[in-house]
């Protein structure tokens, strides 16, 4: 808003939105770094953003920019032209579609970049951009776009390419088409709450005359009220409470007493005693307490079941793999579904495509980026006849691969055949279930013994007292304490940027004794490296020469060095050559400049094969000046994080890389930290399993190679720079920015445990008070109707305040 005001004051002067004096891109809001493009009075950081603006401008869709400031998605990663050619394959197109007929095709796409109201507006106005699109609708929290279009006017491929061209690239992967009818959200809980609330309100209303002791109400009317209440309580017992009956029964079958057993005991007693009193006209029963109890319990259940719809915690390798790959049939590349790949096929993998199977390289060389697998973003060179593992991405020109193993049998995917992934354990060892068996036993003992005492003194009151004990002991407050504490904790974590799968993860978090970290991408930055120069001091002219040379190449290492040198790159580079996997050379200012690997720059006899870290050597006219050491950059404040963690937890580090960083790691970690290098995905899994014999293990990882260890560990958390990116299956996803707060997060989960215990104590107090009345035979319906909501509400308030107070203190 302030920008437009400025515009008015300064008349026609162009004032681009700035942030600390830097130019912000009108489209995506990033600072314009190297280049700055201008159209009309708008500035753009890259060609991609400018193109999107132009497309939208031509079609009169610029309202896109009115809803939010700089809503666009940066288009710096430009997509290959024929990346979506496989969508022309009928089989694939059918698999993806929800509905298909001659004139209409419906498809639901997952688009992770949906993030604001402008996105919704643009995507729902897609029909104005492309003829043939009939309707498009966004489901914001699921980040889904449902499209309806006419395939005779616009084929699926073009629809998808249009989306890509405006920055909304859909994720079309192997498991997208797994149409197990996108599980309809479970609305039954919501409906049960509605029923319980409805019956509770009405029964309460009808019970008011009783509460206020209006004795002059005539008895016929009283009778009528009781019958209506009885009628209203039927849906509660039969419908709203059905989950509790099922769960208690299930517990019995598995021979353990869960918290639902005393609840069901209470419900049955409340209902049968009320029915008896009403039918025998001896009283009004406890139907108000019964309906209130279930209403509160169901709300607690709902509060606990918070989920993050946009995030998936169940992804396996299928989410990473492409739907289709080009197979060479009679030397013509034809897209086929990945699952149809057979051993012996020849496939073509294009720039930036993922290699879905293990195979042998048929092309002369390949430049493969295994960042998905290892987290290491610097590509590796492979030569002809070398074996290539699935999971890498080709960088550079297309390569040909002879398939050696099918998709599910490949090196990376085999991990998912491990038992860890097939066994489904259900953890019943929760706080509440631990105490529920003692609780149930205690209630039964109290009920029977007080019944026995009354049998001796006054037999007429035995049934009365026995049922009163069961009623008042019904653990409503107890059953609410854990859902509300954990539900609140889950929300606090979510606000900070740690998204947990469900509340039971918090309980497991509080029991952790050992923390295992993956190295690359987890404790180091994924996208940043630290460069260290070792060699002869360079003059500024020389620096400029290398800066100019490196600006010619798009290899990640060249880009890093270019950024590191931070010099102008205006010098002319002649006869520039780039040898993939080796280095670059060119003639700058009549000098032959070389940058690259040891083999490329140094003389044969100087090459040192023992060096493990990444080095880029530079030379001018054959005179070696020195080398750049590329090192991982560790996350901010890692030393203090590890120091604090080591006070309470055992620590380990697993790395898929070689041990070149061992010395640096030793400075950051204590001597007791175990470090293992060259770990394969299977090794990581086995290491965690070994630790679990004595510990509760928490694993932090980031890539597919950690998937096994994440699954095996008690709590597996994925560290992600962007939580909407693809992450392997886990118990939670953590925003990488939160890394420095790790000790506080773990402390918070432990305090959640203590808050649950404290609220247990509080609800026990209520139970003791209620029980003392019940045992004496003085429990009246009014007293029960007051005690139950009072105890529930105070427990809910206590836990909510305690959790938020603790959160404020820690974060």
């Amino acid at each position: 808003m302030s920008f437009s005001n400025m515009g008015v004051v300064m008349e026609n002067e162009v004032t681009p939105p700035t942030n600390d004096g830097k130019l912000l891109c009108y489209h995506c809001g990033e600072t314009c770094q190297n280049e700055c493009l201008q159209v009309d009075d708008k500035f753009f950081c890259c060609l991609g953003c400018k193109t999107v603006y132009e497309i939208l401008n031509e079609n009169g869709l610029c309202s896109y920019y009115d809803f939010e400031n700089n809503p666009g998605i940066t288009l710096k990663n430009i997509v290959e032209n024929d990346k979506y050619a496989f969508l022309e394959n009928d089989k694939i197109s059918h698999q993806l579609s929800d509905f298909i007929s001659e004139k209409q095709q419906n498809i639901t796409l997952f688009i992770p970049s949906i993030h604001c109201s402008s996105c919704i507006w643009l995507l729902e106005n897609l029909y104005r951009l492309k003829e043939g699109v009939n309707q498009s609708r966004v489901h914001f929290s699921k980040k889904q776009l449902t499209l309806q279009f006419d395939p005779t006017i616009i084929p699926l491929r073009e629809v998808v390419e249009t989306l890509v061209s405006i920055g909304y690239e859909p994720q079309i992967t192997l498991d997208t088409h797994k149409k197990d009818k996108v599980k309809k959200e479970d609305t039954s809980l919501l409906l049960k709450i509605a029923v319980a609330g409805f019956c509770f309100g009405n029964i309460m209303l009808l019970a008011f005359p009783e509460y206020f002791g209006f004795d002059d109400v005539n008895s016929e009317l009283k009778q009528f009220f009781s019958y209506i209440s009885l009628f209203l309580s039927l849906p509660i017992v039969l419908y709203a409470a059905s989950d509790y009956f099922k769960s208690a029964l299930k517990g019995f079958n598995q021979r353990y007493v869960n918290i639902d057993v005393p609840i069901v005991l209470g419900i049955i007693t409340l209902f049968s005693r009320s029915v008896y009193e009403i039918l025998s006209q001896t009283g009004n029963g406890y139907l108000d307490s019964l309906s209130g109890l279930l209403f509160f319990l169901l709300i607690g259940k709902w509060f606990q079941s918070k989920t993050y719809q946009g995030l998936s915690f169940e992804r396996d390798y299928k989410s990473y793999f492409p739907m289709a790959i080009n197979k060479l049939i009679d030397n013509v590349p034809t897209p086929i579904p990945v699952n149809d790949i057979e051993i012996g096929d020849k496939i073509i993998v294009k720039n930036n495509e993922l290699i879905p199977v293990d195979g042998v390289l048929l092309s002369d060389y390949a430049n493969i980026d295994y960042s998905f697998v290892t987290g290491e973003s610097i590509p590796v060179r492979k030569n002809i006849k070398e074996y290539i593992y699935a999971g890498g991405k080709q960088r550079g020109s297309s390569i040909e691969i002879l398939v050696e193993k099918s998709v599910s049998q490949s090196y990376l995917t085999q991990l998912w055949n491990n038992d860890t992934f097939t066994s489904q354990e259900e953890d019943s060892n929760t706080f509440i279930n631990n105490i529920s068996k003692y609780f149930t036993l205690a209630i039964l003992i109290i009920a029977f013994s007080s019944g026995f005492v009354w049998y001796v003194t006054d037999p007429s009151k035995v049934i009365n007292v026995f049922t009163a004990v069961l009623i008042v002991a019904c653990p409503c407050a107890l059953a609410l304490s854990s859902p509300f504490t954990l539900g609140n904790t889950l929300r606090v974590f979510g606000k900070l940027g740690l998204y947990l799968k469900n509340t039971s993860v918090i309980e497991k978090l509080s029991k952790i004794t050992h923390v295992v970290f993956d190295k690359t991408g987890t404790i180091t930055y994924n996208d940043q490296s630290q460069i260290h120069y070792d060699g002869v001091e360079l003059s500024s002219i020389e620096k400029e020469m290398f800066s100019s040379l490196s600006s010619q190449s798009s290899h990640p290492l060249s880009k890093m060095i270019f950024k590191y040198l931070d010099e102008k790159s205006t010098l002319n580079v002649e006869s520039f050559t780039e040898i993939i996997g080796a280095g670059i050379e060119g003639i700058v200012k009549n000098c032959n400049c070389k940058m690259g690997s040891g083999e490329f720059v140094l003389e044969k006899n100087e090459v040192n094969n023992i060096i493990k870290e990444t080095r880029v050597y530079i030379s001018i006219d054959g005179d070696v000046k020195g080398c750049y050491l590329i090192q991982n950059k560790y996350r901010k404040r890692i030393k203090s994080v590890m120091g604090q963690l080591s006070e309470n937890y055992g620590l380990s580090i697993l790395s898929g890389d070689n041990d070149s960083e061992r010395e640096r790691l030793k400075q950051l970690f204590l001597d007791t930290t175990e470090m293992r290098f060259n770990q394969l995905p299977d090794d990581k899994l086995n290491y965690v399993a070994e630790l679990q014999k004595q510990n509760n293990v928490m694993m932090f990882g980031d890539g597919l190679n950690d998937a096994g260890a994440l699954k095996q560990s008690n709590v597996g958390i994925v560290v992600a720079e962007n939580v909407n990116n693809f992450t392997p299956a886990s118990d939670g996803i953590m925003d990488a920015k939160l890394f420095e707060q790790l000790p506080a997060l773990l402390k918070f989960s432990r305090s959640a445990k203590y808050i649950v215990y404290a609220s247990f104590v509080l609800s026990f107090v209520y139970n003791v008070v209620g029980l003392s009345f019940a045992v004496m035979g003085n429990l009246t319906p009014v007293f029960a109707a007051i005690l139950m909501p009072l105890s529930s509400i105070s427990v809910v308030l206590f836990t909510t305040f305690a959790v938020n107070f603790k959160a404020k203190n820690l974060f």
């Binding site: 009169g60 610029c62 309202s63 919704i120 929290s141 959200e185 409805f198 009405n202 009528f224 209506i228």
Partner: protein
């Protein structure tokens, strides 16, 4: 006292209608996505305005 009986029956019936309405709302998916409808209703105005301006032959100002 008959009137109270009748009134109570009516009030319960009315409440029941709302309960049924809620059931219908949930089943028809109105609670599936609570964010996009709230912004979508603001778009229609915008769209009409744009269409009007383009009908008049004026290109909407960027």
């Amino acid at each position: 006292m008959l009137i109270i009986t009748v009134l109570i029956l009516i009030s319960v019936a009315v409440a029941l209608i709302f309960l049924i309405a809620f059931f219908w709302a949930v089943k028809s998916g109105q609670y599936d996505d609570t964010y996009s409808p709230s912004v979508r209703m603001l778009f229609d105005d915008e769209k009409n305005k744009n269409e009007e301006t383009s009908k008049n032959g004026n290109k909407p100002k960027s």
